[in-house]
């Protein structure tokens, strides 16, 4: 019984270390936007439409620091369609949308700046100062 508890404690410790990099770390909340302006019903599951077809559920991502060290990695979840221009009353169900992927990375080692790389593509750089616990930081795929 004690051995089980010790193993569970060890697993919990290793799991936390894997997520947090062992230094406490910070939470990184991102909204990755594929600005594809595709016609969809708002809220439906989506993937980046051409020319953003490489951005979809399962696309590998890596969060790096300025020196290129990988601090977190994984795969994008499915995106969801968001009204491309809420200032317009489109008056129809299918409207121009962008595809948004939400990322929540917990316990990331703290750095002055980060870069998100999708499928080995060019880095989307941002300052740590822009991160907020209240609001995810929006990154637009170029």
């Amino acid at each position: 019984m004690r051995a089980l508890a010790a193993a569970a404690a060890l697993a919990a410790f290793l799991g936390a270390a894997g997520c947090g990099g062992g230094e406490g770390g910070t939470d990184v909340r991102l909204r990755v936007v594929a600005p594809d302006n595709n016609i969809r019903v708002e809220g439906v599951e989506c993937a980046g439409a051409r020319p953003f077809e490489d951005v979809h559920a399962g696309t590998p991502f890596a969060l790096e620091d300025g020196a290129g060290e990988v601090l977190a990695e994984g795969e994008l979840p499915p995106g969801h369609a968001v009204n491309a221009d809420p200032s317009i009353d489109w008056g129809v169900e299918r409207i121009p949308t962008v595809c948004v992927f939400e990322l929540q990375l917990e316990g990331v080692r703290e750095r002055d700046g980060y870069a998100l790389r999708l499928a080995g593509g060019p880095p989307l750089e941002f300052d740590a100062a822009l991160l907020s616990p209240a609001e995810p930081l929006e990154l637009v795929v170029p």
Binding site: D36, N38, I39, R40, V41, V44, E45, C46, A47, G48, A49, R50, E53, D54, H56, A57, G58, P78, R94, C99
Partner: protein, 195 residues
């Protein structure tokens, strides 16, 4: 006695294992390949006159997940064809694909169905077909094919009339009932006809 029991159990396990591995009678079920291509048009099936004008469906050749080459024009030569642009990583596509396959299956060979996945999805396409237990073919489509059909994002369903005229497309996919209605408006005699 105990040894004999163990030997018997071992032999039974081995027999079960071998039967399991060989598929019993040697016929292994495969999905998404040539077996899903349509056979001859069932007797007695008739279609409405295709539209006199419209947009001709772009012709293309593509490889199915089992390596078989398919000519899209063969699929719509004598019956309506549904093209479904899909991808293994697209969750919505699974539901759409199942619904489309169901509507096509209900027409008992009067309609053909071809799914098209993007080139970079080729490795996962066979697994996708197997997961869905698809009785219809899955092809790997080049960028050119996706562009020709203005397929910006999966799922996109396209209905092609017998002879090759595009009748309509459904960006975001189509449900079973909506597709069935369209198909039944084309079939004037045979399965699904409004006799």
């Amino acid at each position: 006695m105990a040894v004999r029991t163990h030997v018997a159990l071992l032999a039974l396990a081995l027999a079960l294992l071998l039967a399991g591995c060989s598929g019993g009678d040697g016929d292994e079920q495969s999905y998404g390949g040539a077996e899903g291509l349509p056979g001859p048009l069932p007797a007695g099936v008739e279609f409405a006159e295709p539209p006199a004008s419209g947009v001709p469906a772009p012709e293309f050749a593509a490889e199915l997940v089992d390596g078989t080459e398919v000519e899209a024009a063969d699929l719509w030569a004598d019956r309506p064809a549904v093209l479904l642009f899909t991808a293994s990583w697209c969750e919505t596509c699974r539901d759409v694909h199942r619904a489309v396959a169901e509507a096509v299956a209900e027409r008992e060979g009067a309609v053909s169905l071809l799914a098209v996945v993007p080139e970079d999805d080729a490795d996962a396409a066979a697994g996708y077909a197997e997961e869905l237990e698809l009785a219809y073919p899955v092809a790997v489509g080049t960028d050119r094919i996706w562009l020709d059909y203005a397929a910006r994002e999966p799922p996109l369903a396209v209905l092609v009339a017998p002879g090759g005229m595009v009748l309509r497309g459904w960006p975001g996919g189509v449900g079973r009932e909506a597709l069935a209605e369209e198909l039944d408006s084309l079939i004037v005699a045979g399965p699904g006809s409004r006799r």
